[in-house]
Subunit: 322 residues, 2 copies
Amino acid sequence: MPRVAVDALGGDNAPHEVVLGALDAAADGIDVLLVGPRELERHGLTIVEAAERIEMAEKPADAVRAKPGSSLVAAVRAVAQGDADAVVSAGNTGAMLAAGLLHLRRLPGVLRPAIAVPIPARNGPSVLLDAGANADARPEHLLQFAHMGAVFSRELLDVPEPEVRLLSIGEEDEKGNALTLEAHALLRASPLRFAGNAESRDLLRGAADVVVTDGFTGNVALKLLEGTIRELLDAFRQEITATATGKLGGLMIRPAARRLRTRLDPDTYGGAYLLGLRGLAVIAHGNSGRRAIANAIRLAARGVENGVVERLAELVPERVRV
Amino acid sequence: MPRVAVDALGGDNAPHEVVLGALDAAADGIDVLLVGPRELERHGLTIVEAAERIEMAEKPADAVRAKPGSSLVAAVRAVAQGDADAVVSAGNTGAMLAAGLLHLRRLPGVLRPAIAVPIPARNGPSVLLDAGANADARPEHLLQFAHMGAVFSRELLDVPEPEVRLLSIGEEDEKGNALTLEAHALLRASPLRFAGNAESRDLLRGAADVVVTDGFTGNVALKLLEGTIRELLDAFRQEITATATGKLGGLMIRPAARRLRTRLDPDTYGGAYLLGLRGLAVIAHGNSGRRAIANAIRLAARGVENGVVERLAELVPERVRV
């Protein structure tokens, strides 16, 4: 049974919701290692003691250096030392990346880790990466992201032969910027099932199983998607509740609205996956509640069971010659 | 009264909807010059004859060279020759850009033209640029885009002192990629009302009056916004109509849904504005109908009346030293 180290002090709702989510995951039989203050032991989970917390606003590299005993760093170190198979935190994303690079280190041959995020597309999840690990990227990085995304799609989302597309500003091969044009050529020459460029307008409709982009564009796209969904659902509610008839109609469509919300809820997938390190790291949303944390732990455990890191270690250096 | 040249053969619904939109705008007193086949004369508008059409899928630069007599090129040339004050087309965006660069040419001091698009934010429109004129950009280009966007916001959207933000991957000054970090410093040192970085999640909520980005990111953001809005409204309709109660509720919230659709409809603003040329060019959506075309012509006319090109000509070379 996989053992998952959980940062009990990470995120806006820590430790309360984190503990509840950890208990839910433990009830499924996952071996949870809770990294946080000794007092949390009363919940019955195994504890690795860590009293300090890295705040959301702290500068990642500085915080990781200054707080080696923080729950986030200790949770990552638990994986590095073999005390756990994967780590989950809803804390500072940059700090997770920094701690991962420092303590887990990159897999041999991996140039840059990438953040992979499942997008709740119409026909099932597709994976977008890099969603923000590297603000600047080179074409060969995008090629590696594509390989890593394909492993993620196969092992965690059960897509047998994932189709890969490159996020660009037109479906035609010759549309793009200097980075994507070069990456396009590398992807075309790769053994991946590369289907050309994808346009962002199709992201939520299910543009491809794996959508590859640099971390700047990916982060902008992900936040835009989340912000637009939230703003639109809010604006709709506001318009509906503006009239009495609307309010009544609103009650009648509530189940429909709930189904849509559930599909689009980022909590369904639990968070983002840091790929390319010698250990599995999952970054849950900062505002994760119990359900999001539990799902993040479950997916981390599934990643361990399916040997995601081992698959990444096998594939990447062999296939990507740069 | 401003005279606007309208490409009668541009867009998916040409010439029918274009002619109807042109007639609506002409009814407002705008002097419309319809550029298209002689037979359209029967509608009572002044015609500049042009029989050929540039298709949406044609390669822009090639098409503009190969079809100098096309309606799109002839409409742009009408402005270059002083026969019209502005041009509107729902045709090939790249061809408009190529024809604009060739026949109108850049304003003195302008390094690159930019495509400016009004975003239907909650508190009124904000302008996003560059939405795709240049796939690659340098920091000084972003600075110029900011100046051009501020002129657009002031003259066309009636914002007295537009607040400018730079699209990035975090609000903190030090968040971004190599391009935005340098552009941030240039914007900070400029006389613009620069308020720092904006995150894409706030785009639809009204992140700033002017949101500056490179053409690749801007194009990805714009298409993602449009695609997500469309996909979400579709998905919602699908969920609502899945049950009888939902259907009834759906009827009751129809006015609310319509209000939301109207606000988010890109047709309300008529299209994108090509800034930085010696003439005003408006690119309407390819699928523009009568209303979108009429609004695009109206905004083009307002741009002429408010001297947008003259304001751009005054401001840009004076303020931007690169």
